[in-house]
């Protein structure tokens, strides 16, 4: 262990500038406005756009909690200073409950299995009605959202309480809580993605679908973490605790899960392509017609090939501007991926993208930033009394 930590350590309280506050409020206002206006203009487009953005930010909120939980379970030392950033991301989790309940209002528009004639048209869908019905789906969403909220409350709460008391037992408590959360998350997130995205095409199924959504979730979580590390450092709020070494490791994770996403996406695609069974191939046929083929290839190129090659060299992982560019690319691709899963089911399979999609996304982005801002206004940017913080301060990446 290198004992010479000569660099200065500093954490300043986070004080959002008035411009930042105005931007957040403007984003939320734009979101509410486009949601209201959209419902009046085109109900279907509004709900599909809402679903994509809601799922997108739910993933980021959950990704933050999942990252924090993994660090607790493996008793990681290096990440104890970055963990607070991930914990800030979890401040979106309370919105999942409200957002999910609002989503249920649009269930009749979104989910074809809510219509009698669709159910009667196919014996495949008829056989699934015991699972695919609104009361049961509402129950599942509420259980998922409440469960995630409870785990966030305790895991993040323990970490925050430690800032005051410095009690090491809180770290130990978080280990078992995190194990329970990871088990719960594996199941609940599969249900969540199957319900919200896969059931849009009720005759189709893929057993790897939950993992596919998780792969995108985790990749984009690291992109947000990398952006937070760089911007907080640029603002001069944290010095010494979170360095380029932490950025390097987070970006390594980002590259790793870039490959993981490609691996899972290909696993899903290849088995369906190879077996060539009609009720399975319809999903990919819809995504190879009416211009969707171009978007499918955009995903392959800009969600896997470009970030993978761009993140290979060591020096580039430590280059702020480069990491910002790749992270933004990955976040855009995560949106495109969810959009690609939802939109081919509507508008007669044609590509529709416009102000409605952007407006509602901006609203959710505002909520997400609002959650992070409020979190950091209340709590320290670094878990200063974490028993493993000295490991994070002395962290350095060997080559």
């Amino acid at each position: 262990m290198a004992s010479h930590s000569t660099h200065e350590l500093q954490v300043k309280p986070f004080e959002p500038s008035s411009l930042f506050k105005v931007v957040i409020l403007a984003l939320i206002a734009v979101g509410v406005l486009s949601f209201g206006l959209g419902l009046w203009l085109s109900e279907e487009r509004t709900w599909t756009s809402y679903l994509v953005s809601f799922f997108y930010f739910s993933c980021l909120g959950l990704g933050g909690l999942f990252f924090a939980a993994i660090q607790h379970v493996v008793k990681a030392g290096w990440s104890s200073s970055v963990r607070r950033y991930a914990e800030a991301m979890t401040s979106f989790i309370p919105f999942i409950l409200f957002g999910g309940l609002i989503l249920l209002l649009g269930a009749k528009t979104l989910f074809p299995w809510t219509h009698e004639d669709v159910i009667n048209s196919s014996s495949l869908i008829k056989a699934k009605t015991a699972y695919l019905n609104i009361p049961f789906m509402a129950t599942r969403i509420v259980i998922c959202a409440l469960g995630w909220f409870a785990f966030k409350w305790f895991i993040v709460g323990n970490s925050i309480n430690q800032d005051q008391s410095g009690d090491h037992n809180l770290t130990l408590k978080n280990v078992s809580l995190s194990i329970a959360f990871i088990a719960f998350f594996a199941l609940s997130f599969s249900f969540f993605s199957v319900d919200l995205l896969m059931s849009l095409l009720p005759t189709w199924y893929s057993t790897i679908f939950g993992v596919y959504c998780f792969a995108g979730l985790f990749q984009s979580t690291f992109a947000v973490l990398a952006l937070m590390i760089i911007f907080i450092r640029r603002a001069g709020l944290v010095k010494g605790y979170v360095t380029v070494e932490h950025q390097h490791d987070i970006v390594k994770f980002m590259k790793g899960f870039t490959v993981f996403w490609a691996y899972i996406a290909f696993s899903q695609f290849m088995l369906i392509w190879y077996a060539n069974i009609p009720e399975e191939t319809e999903y990919y046929i819809m995504r190879s017609q009416n211009g969707w083929l171009a978007i499918s290839f955009l995903l392959l190129i800009f969600r896997f090939i470009v970030p993978f090659l761009a993140l290979l060299p060591r020096g580039l992982k430590r280059n702020d501007n480069h990491v910002i560019a790749v992270s933004v690319l990955i976040l855009v691709m995560q949106y495109l991926d969810i959009y690609w899963m939802v939109y081919p089911n509507y508008n007669d399979g044609m590509i529709k993208f416009g102000l409605q999609e952007i407006g509602i996304f901006m609203g959710f982005l505002g909520l997400f930033l609002l959650g992070i801002t409020l979190f950091f206004k209340k709590y320290s940017l670094v878990a200063l009394k974490d028993p493993r913080l000295h490991e994070a301060i002395n962290h350095h990446v060997t080559y």
Partner: protein, 174 residues
Amino acid sequence: MAKLMPGLAAIFTDEHQVLEAARKSRDLGMTKFEAISPYPIHGMEDACGIKRSSIPYVAFVAGMTGLLGALALVWYTSVYDWPINVGGKPPFSLPAFIPIMFELTVLFAALSSVGALFYHCGIPRVDPPTIDPDLTCHKFAIFVPENESGYEAKKLETFYKSLGAESVKKVEAY
């Protein structure tokens, strides 16, 4: 690495002292010395001034070779030499080839990384010279070969003694 050299070894009992000694040796302008430790020491590669090895590049090139080699292999066997109709799919079906291309990429990159590592570390070595058996357990050493620039046994001995070396001894070959 391959040639054995006589020289001088300073034995330390403290990890921090050997790290400091390595840093000071590099500051003196020495480039050929080696730090010997029973386990990896954080910051040692920096202190010794060791540059990055070529392993990442070897892995990348070997990985690309594996990728393209696998493509050539499946193309020759399944498309060119002996095309078989499988499920009505065209002979050249990239999705079916990707698992093989992926596996050979990983295999080539992994094996050549290990090979490059062995090459850079000069292992395995039959009957390696020993400076002190305790160096595999709880002691550390700085070894300076005789062809090091500014090598002067007397001066180096006092230099390492002043840095806390437990003993400094002559080594016939290392």
